[in-house]
């Protein structure tokens, strides 16, 4: 009989440390309030009653980067805003993830000009890209679930 079955008979549930840590990180991920433009409205709709992101642990959106894990960049990033964005990203403590929501944050969207950064991955590493202009709240929730799968597959060494 393995130790797991022995422990289970005694009333202990066992799992690997990696699984436990990733499970905890997934279900208590606090996003940072970073709505820039129209996608922010859909993010708010995702947070509201009908499509509820607090089902996934994202009950509160922290306005301060010091207490948040996830940055959902929703909206166009201008060249003037780009250094501010990088500063806020650097202020977030690890482990941290980035979801690029919408077309403008992923690739510049319909704005291909001097003023808009063509994709926020020019500034910071992105984990999940959510396409749409703006993406429906369900699409954002799908993006969050994809991020959860990614986090579940991470090893301890990623953020150690």
């Amino acid at each position: 009989m393995g130790i797991e079955q022995k422990a289970a008979n005694l009333g202990f549930a066992t799992m690997r440390l990696e699984q436990a840590v990733n499970w905890a990180r997934t279900y208590a991920m606090w996003p940072m309030l970073f709505g820039l433009a129209c996608c922010a409205i859909e993010m708010m709709a995702g947070q509201a009653a009908k499509h509820d992101m607090s089902r996934f642990g994202m009950e509160l959106m922290r306005a301060t980067p010091r207490q948040s894990d996830l940055m959902i960049i929703s909206g166009r990033v201008t060249r003037k805003m780009a250094p501010v964005l990088r500063l806020l990203y650097d202020q977030m403590p690890e482990p941290k993830w980035v979801v690029s929501m919408g077309d403008c944050a992923s690739c510049g969207g319909i704005f291909n000009n001097y003023a808009i950064v063509q994709g926020v991955d020019e500034i910071m590493p992105v984990d999940v890209y959510v396409a749409g202009c703006p993406p429906r709240p369900e699409a954002l929730v799908h993006g969050i679930l994809t991020l959860h799968e990614k986090v579940r597959g991470e090893s301890l060494k990623t953020w150690a």
């Binding site: 060249r79 291909n112 000009n113 003023a115 020019e122 910071m124």
Partner: protein, 170 residues
């Protein structure tokens, strides 16, 4: 033309070198740049145009010379009348007097015109960039400013563009 505007237009034509144009019920007066402040002062004091609604600029390069037109639109709240003024001006860094002494909301509009067109306003208390980053070079809404777009990635050139694009590493 709206009959109530007629006295204002006549007064401006007498005192300044104004040329009037009318289009679809909207009256526009063309004025030279050194008379614009006095003309607006006259309209403000004598004819009750107390609200500056619009102050922007247009660049007509290379089709028209003078190249820039500064467009003002004054509104009278009491009488509900609108009148438009245009100041044609040209040059690489043109300059004209500021309306901030008369209308306080001209402050940010003139900052925007400076930022986007490079038209300097004399007498403006704080003329600096408002929309672009403060160390930006160039004035984006001029017609000779490059569009600044990134080449569109199709399947045949996607990898080449990808290699040159600056991605953040960490």
């Amino acid at each position: 033309m709206n009959e109530e505007l007629q006295p204002a237009v006549t007064a401006l034509k007498e005192r300044f070198d104004a040329r009037a144009e009318e289009f679809r019920g909207q009256t526009t007066l063309f004025l030279p740049s050194d008379q614009i402040v006095e003309a607006c002062q006259t309209l403000h004091d004598d004819f009750g145009f107390d609200f500056l609604e619009v102050e922007t600029a247009v660049d007509y390069w290379p089709k028209q010379n003078p190249r820039f037109h500064i467009v003002y639109q004054l509104y009278s709240i009491q009488k509900q009348l609108r009148i438009g003024l245009r100041v044609p001006i040209s040059g690489q860094t043109p300059s004209l007097p500021s309306l901030t002494g008369l209308y306080a909301n001209a402050n940010w509009r003139e900052r925007e015109i400076w930022d986007m067109f490079g038209i300097h306003f004399e007498g403006h208390p704080d003329l600096r960039r408002i929309l672009m980053p403060h160390d930006w070079e160039g004035h984006p809404l001029r017609k000779d400013y490059p569009l600044g777009y990134e080449e569109v990635q199709f399947s045949f050139n996607a990898e080449e563009i990808d290699q040159d694009k600056p991605y953040a590493k960490e």
